[in-house]
Symmetry: C2
Subunit: 143 residues, 2 copies
DNA sequence: TCTAACGTTGACGTTAACGTTAATATGTAG
DNA sequence: CTACATATTAACGTTAACGTCAACGTTAGA
């Protein structure tokens, strides 16, 4: 399994090395394995993970804390399915899943709200553009 | 023309008084008229203006500096409109309108890009939720 | 007219999200 | 094995976006 040094990750993600370590520090990224000397060895999954974080940060304008809530629910099912399987008590499993369901509902509602407001803004701009284009049509030399 | 005190504006917008003064300080809002004693007297336009700022901040996740740029281009548009009316030469009018059309195109593309990425994220979350709900179904006591 | 409620301007405090620097250890090309 | 680029932690610095407090002036109602 090939690994990446922090500088490789920085180049691929566009983040600085400081930011990458910071995201690990605040729990936004799983801590990678270390070499004998203590050097971080990242995998491709770390890079994919960071890509999602960057998207949520830039596109949605989420705070890192909000991103954390989103990632926690994503991790608990996909990445750490093993940990989930170690929960023996089915009742506990069920509780965990229901908790995730509620969290996801909230996140999805947030997204819908955002989309709705952006669409409203888009409608305003589109209407203005239509008026502008009407003006252009009226002024353009017709043949 | 009826005016509003800062506390009224705060209540209507949900911003704090400190934030309102701060937005004026950094040029995010036109400075309102003052009473003889120096008390700020806001108009409805100030409130409408703040609403847009809040939307851009919360919905689009823009930094205050980005909002400033956005507002400037919005102002340019209205400025272009006023300018447009004063133009006598139809050829010049046509040029102005085409300029506005280009500006609007750029803004609309930005919004589309955001919507696209939000929809991608929404798809991810929805799929995750489906898997979670599948797990719940499997664990739930069946009768 | 008096006074309580509200407004004003500094000015310093706070938190998130990193940047920067220093002192030191590690990885690697020759 | 040496040298040099790159890594590590620790700690203090910085910027945006406000919060909070003090000291003081203004407004509005009884």
């Amino acid at each position: 399994m090939s690994t990446y040094k922090i500088d490789d990750v920085a180049r691929e993600t566009g983040l600085t090395k400081r930011t990458i370590r910071y995201y690990e520090e605040i729990g936004l990224m799983p801590a990678p394995e270390r070499s004998d000397g203590g050097t971080r060895r990242y995998t491709r999954e770390h890079i994919d993970h960071l890509r999602r974080v960057i998207d949520a940060r830039d596109v949605l304008g989420f705070s890192l804390q909000e991103i954390q809530e989103y990632l926690i629910s994503a991790q608990e099912l996909t990445g750490q399915r093993e940990l989930y399987r170690q929960i023996q008590d089915p009742a506990e499993q069920l509780g965990k899943l229901r908790e995730m369901d509620v969290t996801l509902d909230a996140q999805l509602r947030k997204l819908d709200e955002k989309i709705g407001k952006i669409l409203a803004l888009k409608k305003d701009l589109t209407e203005l553009q239509e008026r502008v284009r009407g003006g252009i049509d009226r002024l353009e030399p017709k043949d």
